[in-house]
């Protein structure tokens, strides 16, 4: 065979076939998940399953490469199963409410990718191969991948055929189905197992290919597939077509030079807008997504002493942490002279970290009250995603971007994301929880584009990666004071809007009955949260969980009234971020860890605790 013939036989043809097979597997997986969960926006991406597989592969590659001897399959599968188990456990405690499931899934996905980023940053030499895998490249060198996926697809298809009838009974809902004698738990478990196996197999072979499982079934439904067997079959076929078309586009656009451009990035590009289109079409009959967060939280009669204590702790922590440092061989407390010398260096980053924490916490408190959903947080508002995208575009588009250009790009990205989400607020009767989903859609769109950019393997992706993980080391005094004034302004605005924050959780009817300007109030609160998030993102990167943790802690400490809640959350957020900054400075001495990354590593366990607590 000539070289061209070899490339055709072992490169191009397998690639074409694997696009069909993988697309079919993802389409089927999405269709099964949507049927089992009765959730039209469930798919391996939105439920965090693909990200779980991704994280386990990244971790294994870097930390224990020997395990890869047995192949990537077992590792990807176990990651997928773990992520699915986590999300399903959370869902089971919340009656599988669609919006909550997706919020949990996306939080799991975001966390997984944050950890993956952290590890990647720490071990740079593997970067290139990993990001290409992360992006979902369809490049093939032989037929083994096709064979493996075909086997999984046929097994999955057979299982789906067996499950079709129980699934139809399940579509009546839990009570109805068990009334007909169906073992609901077993059918659910079987369905989810098949879906996870299909998605995990694709992840192991090709990497993260997002949203095909969302698009296939959505298209099948809009083409009029009504019965469950129809839907399963049509979704499978459409999934295969979608991935093939996407891969064809990649080949045409990128040509031979861009052979490594991951197709998964393109499907992500399609997935974000698709979710935004699907959201208003979600049926209203789904179980309520709002939930009583953690049962009756305590309520403090005299909140002032608590707030003052928090303030005192913040100031004390700031003073103390400036004064403590690690020296080679141990710890040291600075004497007065060194303290005076170090203060100008450490003060800006301290102010910046505390302000970022306060801003994120305020944004989180506002969002949780606005949506009545305790899992709402600035991370899922989409602002951070848009901001990261803006930053990345500036890095790639200009040869040597100045700081001001980067800042402008970041802000523009955040504002555009905010505008998309804001457009949702203006829709009549749009439940606030769906505003969250719009934010999630924007986030996933942004992360898809980001991974595509990084997959180019350019040295510039380092700049972006480093920024994504957030660092306070380079902050100067003017920037820190700017952030401080933004945080204070937002705190004042939130306290001034405390009556809105008290009435809005009571729902549309009560709010309108009390002459609250519903759209105006929602829009201005979303804007407020967005600006706070955007300003903090510039410093700590897109993920920190402070916006999720601080409002919860404040509520747990008994701060029930909106004004006090917001204030307490801001103080706790500032405190947490100050401590995280100290930790980031000390943990890897003499090197610094990125602040945002360190904060997420503290925040992630909290998140899982919160998810697992669930509803009483």
């Amino acid at each position: 065979m000539s070289l061209e013939q070899i490339i055709l036989a072992y490169g191009m043809i397998p690639r074409g076939v694997i696009a069909l097979v993988a697309g079919a597997a993802l389409g089927l997986s999405g269709a099964i998940l949507q049927t089992v969960l009765r959730n039209p926006i469930a798919d391996p991406t939105t439920l965090g399953i693909s990200s779980g597989a991704q994280l386990s592969l990244v971790l294994t590659t870097i930390l224990a490469p020997d395990l890869l001897m047995a192949g990537r399959w077992p590792i990807a599968m176990s990651g997928a199963v773990l992520a699915a188990a986590l999300v399903m456990t959370a869902g089971a405690r919340r009656a599988f409410a669609p919006v909550t499931m997706v919020v949990v899934g996306m939080l799991v996905a975001l966390t997984a990718s944050a950890i993956a980023t952290a590890v990647t940053l720490a071990q740079g030499e593997y970067l290139l191969s990993l990001v290409i895998w992360n992006g979902g490249s369809l490049v093939q060198q032989d037929w083994s991948g096709v064979q493996a996926l075909t086997l999984v697809l046929s097994l999955g298809g057979a299982a789906a055929a067996l499950l079709a009838r129980p699934l139809r009974v399940l579509s009546l809902g839990i009570e109805g189905a068990s009334g007909l004698g169906l073992n609901v738990a077993a059918v659910r478990l079987a369905g989810i197992a098949v879906a996870v196996a299909l998605a995990g197999a694709v992840s192991a072979e090709l990497g993260l290919i997002g949203f095909v499982g969302l698009a296939g079934p959505a298209l099948a439904r809009s083409l009029g597939a009504r019965s469950i067997p129809e839907r399963l079959v049509l979704s499978t076929i459409l999934g295969a077509l979608i991935l093939s078309v996407c891969d064809g586009l990649v080949l045409i656009v990128a040509g031979t030079s861009g052979e490594m451009f991951p197709t998964g990035a393109l499907t992500g590009l399609i997935g974000g807008p698709l979710m935004i289109w699907l959201l208003p079409r979600l049926r209203g009959s789904t179980p309520p997504g709002t939930e009583a967060a953690e049962g009756p939280a305590p309520r403090r009669d005299r909140p002032m002493p608590l707030l003052l204590t928090l303030l005192a702790m913040l100031l004390a922590a700031a003073m103390l942490l400036v004064g403590i440092g690690r020296v080679p061989g141990g710890w040291a407390i600075l004497d007065a002279q060194s303290f005076a010398d170090f203060l100008p260096m450490r003060l800006p980053r301290l102010i910046a970290a505390a302000s970022a924490g306060a801003a994120l916490a305020t944004a989180g408190a506002i969002l949780q009250r606005l949506t009545g959903n305790p899992l709402a947080s600035p991370e899922v508002l989409g602002v951070s995603g848009g901001a990261s995208l803006g930053f990345a575009i500036v890095v790639y588009a200009f040869a040597a971007p100045s700081g001001a250009m980067l800042y402008a790009g970041t802000m523009t990205g955040g504002v555009i994301a905010l505008a998309v989400v804001g457009a949702y607020v203006f829709r009549r009767d749009m439940p606030t929880e769906r505003i969250l989903l719009a934010g999630i859609a924007v986030s996933s769109l942004a992360s898809a584009v980001l991974s595509a950019m990084m997959a180019s393997g350019d040295a510039k992706s380092w700049t972006v990666l480093a920024w994504l993980s957030g660092s306070s080391a380079t902050v100067l005094m003017p920037g820190a004071l700017g952030l401080l004034s933004v945080a204070s302004a937002i705190w004042i605005a939130a306290v001034a809007g405390r009556r809105w924050l008290a009435i809005l959780p009571l729902g549309h009817g009560v709010s309108a009955g009390l002459s609250l300007p519903l759209r105006g109030a929602r829009l201005s609160l979303i804007l407020l949260a967005g600006i706070a998030t955007g300003a903090a993102t510039v410093l700590v990167g897109p993920l920190s969980f402070v916006g999720l943790m601080a409002p919860h802690l404040a509520r747990r400490f008994g701060l029930a009234l909106p004004g006090l809640h917001v204030t307490g959350a801001a103080l706790i957020g500032a405190l947490l971020m100050t401590l995280a900054d100290f930790g980031a400075r000390m943990a890897g001495f003499p090197y610094e860890l990125p602040l945002g990354l360190f904060a997420s590593l503290i925040g992630a366990p909290w998140l899982f605790w919160l998810i697992m607590r669930g509803q009483r």
Partner: protein, 256 residues
């Protein structure tokens, strides 16, 4: 003037369905008006139109002024609306919930004056919840909670109350207790109430005036006595009902 609402050729459409069809109706002032009808008859829809919560075609006048001409705040000062199954007021004390009723008066930033406080106290006393003022709303029983929401409406100083199935989640004793309170609130203080009710006998017993809807049209507009006839009930619910007369002359309907 004795007309509270003057409704002319009111229609409400959702994609693919017409919920209210050419409703023309005058509702009297200072009465407890019961809105009844089968499921999906449009009774809640009508109430939401009157509360300005959903869009409609046709004209509705409240106290002689067309609905779109009212400012949101003025409207909320004249009329209070309680949605079906009010949400849980997480972490809120009873007096704080009732104080939310002052929002149309002080707005988002205005001062909560001693006068506002006085109205809150009066409202809690009127609805008999003053003893619970410092309890968490979540810890009260269903009937007590519903009285808190009624107190919030009283604190709003509105002379018209719109209630969407205020008794649907309550047992019979609490339902009667709430309806008695609504009736007393209207009789003692010259208020008007429009109440969506499920139960015919409850409507006949506690309302002065009945409006029945069927498939989005008016099926009956009259006194409770007009309702308590087998033919009238059959027209509304398409069900044969038997009318029994109690010892005190009150008539009750039971399915035949």
């Amino acid at each position: 003037m004795t007309t509270l609402f003057s409704i002319n050729d009111l229609c409400v459409d959702v994609p693919g369905r017409r919920l209210l069809e050419g409703v023309t109706l005058d509702l009297p002032r200072n009465r407890v008006i019961g809105l009844i009808g089968h499921n999906g008859s449009g009774k809640s829809t009508l109430l939401k139109v009157l509360a300005r919560q959903i869009a409609s075609t046709g004209s509705v006048q409240f106290e002689g002024t067309p609905l779109p001409d009212w400012s949101a705040r003025e409207y909320a000062r004249r009329l209070a609306f309680l949605p079906q199954s009010p949400p849980s007021a997480e972490g809120m004390l009873v007096r704080e919930l009732v104080a939310l009723g002052r929002y149309p008066w002080h707005g988002a930033l205005g001062r909560f004056s001693p006068e506002d406080d006085a109205y809150v106290r009066v409202a809690m006393a009127e609805c008999g919840i003053a003893p619970f003022a410092d309890r968490l709303v979540d810890t009260l029983s269903g009937g007590e909670r519903q009285r808190c929401w009624l107190a919030m409406m009283v604190a709003q100083q509105a002379s018209t109350l719109l209630l969407d199935e205020p008794t649907s989640a309550l047992d019979i004793a609490h339902a009667v207790e709430v309806m008695r309170l609504v009736r007393k609130m209207c009789q003692d203080r010259q208020r008007s109430a429009i109440v969506v009710l499920h139960e015919v006998n409850m409507a006949a017993r506690f309302c002065d005036h009945i409006v029945a809807l069927k498939d989005g049209r008016i099926a009956l507009d009259g006194a409770p006595a007009d309702l308590m006839h087998a033919e009238a009930l059959h027209d509304i619910f398409s069900l044969r009902m038997e009318i029994l007369t109690r010892g005190d002359g009150q008539r009750v309907a039971v399915p035949a």
